[in-house]
Symmetry: C2
Subunit: 363 residues, 2 copies
DNA sequence: CCTAACGCTGAAATCGATTTCAGAAATCGA
DNA sequence: TCGATTTCTGAAATCGATTTCAGCGTTAGG
């Protein structure tokens, strides 16, 4: 009585029409049918048409497994993102998929949850699947992972960053430069008391780390290095943005400018500022990063950095398609970001007179 | 001079280690190696270990194409979502992928951009790829698509809806019932002058259409049928939510409750209300649908309906895994939604005395 | 009219893993 | 100790499409 209840019949009901069935119907050999599909130009037109008719009649489609086995190409690309929950990645993946689809490729998707070990496992699974190319995110990948890719001989590209180590080509923006520019912009407005909210909790989030470094470097250059308490580390969420701002203002009540490494954190910070009765931007300037749709609709609209996610996705697709075909490909592509100045940033009100503290501008 | 510059060598550099290589090294037959991998329990333990060692030494991995060809199973599932840009779908896809990954399946992803023709094409491409199961979104699919699925004999499930036509099983929530409940809640608060903002522009967006119907039905039952001008159709975006509210209040300045079919529209509407100087919820109650992260962080927090996207994704994965294995599966699964009452809704201020217009309650 | 060249088609080998079938080895009972 | 099971392993067939190679028929040139 251990038998499973028999419910659904296993396997396909109709035993799938194969190339020989078409060949028989059309009175030709299987080879000819294959040629009609793969090299139509070398088959006599009338014969080609006849075969084509039978192909359509029988609704024949090639078995991709057999095809892949013989040709060694799966016509498949894999992508591993940290998470899909971030619009910025979802947008990139969507663009990637659309472009690949146009070229007859199909996209495998996996997510690592910002965990390098998981990223490695998912990659392993994708490579076993015989993918022809792989898209990663970010610059920090284990040595293990890189050697796996190399050993498999699969073209790879990493995204959302301007460059990555280990000889992996990249397509994306220069995150550090972007926040440096943002910080310099705020410095020009006259701010001197800064705070930073960065989602650098996940070990593998090199984008946010680079962004934080951009802030620090710019402030260091300006002679206003950030003290550890002026940097609040957060996870990726609105509520963390809220609590981060509260903590920052508890430690440094006189802060006039808060730079966040993502829009989500910035939006959380703005919500908290409102609740605390702080006027943005009058008493507090807040900036974000990513330029999500909501950023422009905030009250006040959020100053942020626009990331060309769709372009990154398309670019990654094009890169891989060429690399797989053996065409020449660029080493890396640095895409332009765009500093979007809106109304959440303004000169500090009680212009605290920067005091021009005479740091030696020795460079 | 037409020759392409020869850059990258085509194909894999190392000619991939195959099962016979392992067999030779281990002094066994290929059959035994295969058994070690697929039915370890029927191989003598010491032999099994020896073979395993060589498998690891050579870093052998099975060629999935050959495997799929022989077994007829690709261990692959496909999903077609309208778009990934919506967090609600991204979340579901992520959960789906995670669960499938645990069971050794890999997920193909495609998106239809709310276009039925495109959905059909992507499905065709997925089926040619030999996927073992398919996940769709929503209830409205062309007859063409359904017959393609049937003909291919591939298990299918549709998501985010409680039921779908054409014998396709579904897992999701009852959208119509959810908005009906929301509307009834607002009616109980004493509202009588309603407005609805619905993203029903895309032809295939049956979820939003069902939601709109839920609103209409509840109001009809209450004797307060919506006039066409009380329903503003919108696309899916914040700005559309803004303009929709403006238009609604132009036509019906005395509206006290606005029901939106998505949080995005509701958030847009709230932004516009603030700009127009309307107090929410004092003079205007606004409700959404989806319960995105931001909803709870709004000022005031948004009353909405929570959709169990992750659970839908997991459920769809489980369904397909069982269906593929031939195990018994449920026809459809209706998951509970949750009415989340926050502070964006309240009784109307100047309680306009419903007047209890003596409609015949003939039912 | 005959040979050379060309264009097109079919038979068969091939891709790599799985699985059936049969046989070898080991175990057990008598 | 011998025959009967049982356990385990190997040889070979198989999945379906692609492609090489050879041969057929046709056309052009002499």
């Amino acid at each position: 009585m251990d038998k499973k209840p028999v419910i659904a019949p296993k396997g396909r009901q109709q035993p799938r029409v194969k190339i020989e069935d078409v060949a028989r119907k059309a009175n030709v050999s299987a080879a000819t049918v294959s040629r009609v599909l793969n090299h139509p130009d070398i088959v006599r037109p009338e014969l080609r048409d006849r075969v084509m008719r039978h192909i359509n009649d029988l609704a024949y489609t090639r078995d991709s497994a057999a095809r892949a086995l013989k040709s060694g190409r799966m016509r498949t690309v894999g992508v591993i993102v940290p998470t899909l929950a971030l619009g910025i990645f979802a947008e990139g993946v969507e663009a990637l998929q659309n472009r690949l689809s146009e070229s007859g490729y199909t996209l495998f998707i996996a997510n690592s949850q910002y965990d390098q070990r998981r990223e490695f496992q998912e990659l392993q699974s994708l490579i076993e699947r015989g993918i022809d190319g792989i898209v990663l995110v970010g610059a920090s990948h284990g040595r293990e992972l890189r050697s796996l890719i190399e050993q498999a001989g699969v073209p790879v590209i990493t995204t959302y960053v301007a460059k990555a180590g280990g000889g992996i080509p990249a397509i994306g923006i220069d995150n550090e430069s972007a926040t440096r520019e943002m910080t310099e912009y705020l410095l020009r407005l006259g701010h001197v008391r800064f705070g930073a909210i960065a989602n650098v909790v996940a070990a593998s989030n090199d984008r946010s780390r680079a962004r934080l470094e951009g802030i620090q470097r710019a402030l260091l250059d300006a002679g206003l290095p950030l003290k550890p308490t002026q940097i609040v580390k957060a996870d990726y969420s609105l509520v963390q943005g809220r609590s981060a701002l509260r903590q920052l203002l508890t430690d440094h009540p006189d802060t006039t400018a808060v730079i966040c490494t993502t829009d989500t954190l910035a939006i959380g910070a703005m919500a908290e500022a409102r609740k605390m009765g702080l006027a943005v931007p009058a008493t507090l300037s807040i900036t974000g990063f990513d330029d999500v749709e909501l950023a422009a609709q905030m009250d006040p609209p959020l100053t942020t950095v626009s990331v060309p996610a769709a372009e990154i996705g398309r670019g990654a697709a094009d890169y891989l398609i060429n690399a797989i075909a053996g065409s020449p490909v660029p080493r890396s592509v640095v895409l332009p970001y765009r500093l979007v100045v809106r109304s959440s940033s303004a000169p500090p009100r009680s212009n605290a007179r920067p005091a021009r503290r005479g740091r030696s501008r020795d460079h």
